[in-house]
Point group: C2
Chain length 252, copies 2
Amino acid sequence: MFSPVESRRLYRQVADQIRLMIASGELAVGQRLPAERDLAEQLSVSRPTVREALIVLEVEGLVNIRMGSGIYVVRQHAAAVTGAEREPVEGPFELLQARALIECAIAEEAAGRAKPDDIALLDEALTRMGGVVNDAIAVLDADRAFHTGIAAIIGNATLIRVTGEMFDMRMTPYFARLASHFEGPTTWRRALDEHRAIRDAIAAGDAAGAKAAMRAHLTMSQKRFSESFGEEFSGEEERGRNKRPSKGTTKT
Amino acid sequence: MFSPVESRRLYRQVADQIRLMIASGELAVGQRLPAERDLAEQLSVSRPTVREALIVLEVEGLVNIRMGSGIYVVRQHAAAVTGAEREPVEGPFELLQARALIECAIAEEAAGRAKPDDIALLDEALTRMGGVVNDAIAVLDADRAFHTGIAAIIGNATLIRVTGEMFDMRMTPYFARLASHFEGPTTWRRALDEHRAIRDAIAAGDAAGAKAAMRAHLTMSQKRFSESFGEEFSGEEERGRNKRPSKGTTKT
DNA sequence: CTGGTCAACTGGCCTGACCAATTAAGGTAC
DNA sequence: GTACCTTAATTGGTCAGGCCAGTTGACCAG
């Protein structure tokens, strides 16, 4: 609560600055950036630092680095404020609401297309999940496999990716710490039952039923979430700052 | 077709290798990686290369770098195969199919919630779009604003972000080159008409109509896309490799 | 047992250098 | 004059070695 201190690493500051110049249009899309050596001089930092900043921007998809040629602006929308940078992200409830909307539509569509092989894949995830409700990490993995498995029925890689990405957002430090309070064998078993209902509706080709079951599942998930520690949200301010990660605390 | 050669940049190969070790569980979540100097020695590369690879993984959110302490595995799912790395990504048709599914659901939901202010925002995007159909960049921006604007009606930041991200995927070099073949004032005007239909349905609170209009829009978009150069897909093999970008070709 | 000091790591950053890919200018053969 | 080849300048990719600053845990004084 005292001093933010923060002292961001230099290459991140450089990345931020260049990103800003791109966003403001000062560096137009398609334009070539100054050479690394020039950038280093203009910014008064060393070339390795500039390189590291540019790699950040490249991973974010903002620039395209071409050996021997130069560095080009690809697009200006930050779009994917990716990875670690996405810490100040939407809250858990917002995420669950979004998942409800999207995954319901996916479940609805999947119900009309599911083939025996697809159902077998879902079943595999379900049995696996049932066997590891006591393993916090493994059960999450099975949970994820089930949700992406439904998207896989449609056979669209983008849908699989988006579903997985939204699921993984619960892995952020902030979310993870909250989750540890209410996730346990009991709640996982309840979630598993809801999964089974979804699976059955899809297997039966019942689109409306699958949609409803998915909605019920995510609504219940949200409810479990809020009931267990709704009060924590009032005193929450320092979000994902998990200092002193208290390593040995697995399960108590 | 000859030699893959590939010659991927070294730091990417290193990043891939470490990512693999994380995905396979060889490096468990929470575990500390060897020091940069040790990694460099084990991998027979220099420390700057290792650093660049680690920065990639940090931006992707897989590891957490803590100064003076070490590098820790945060999660194992690649999740966001972000930015430039997503080049070998889903194809345009797959993307449009995913957008249809998701944005239809969003439009449907938005129709039931839209307030006058929201409609005004959409109208702003529409008029702006109408005024810049000749500016390839500006019109894209207005297009984007319309689609994210619909998501904004629901008031869920995650939905806005996901919608924007999927839209931005057309900015990848591969997609952009294809798009330049068929995007023009004429097609943009048609897209604008379809936008208006969506806007009207939402403004009228017609959920089913909004869903249908959105589906029609994205289906037409897909059709425009395939008709203009469907044949290109047969001879397409080298995807986003855009050699010789033919800089001056804007509009012809 | 508490508190402070100190030394050993570890990441952050820098200098300077060389290699490889790209690109364009210039030269040569036709 | 044109087409092709050669060549040199430019630019990113990688390396080596070094110093600084933050972190951590062991050790020691109180």
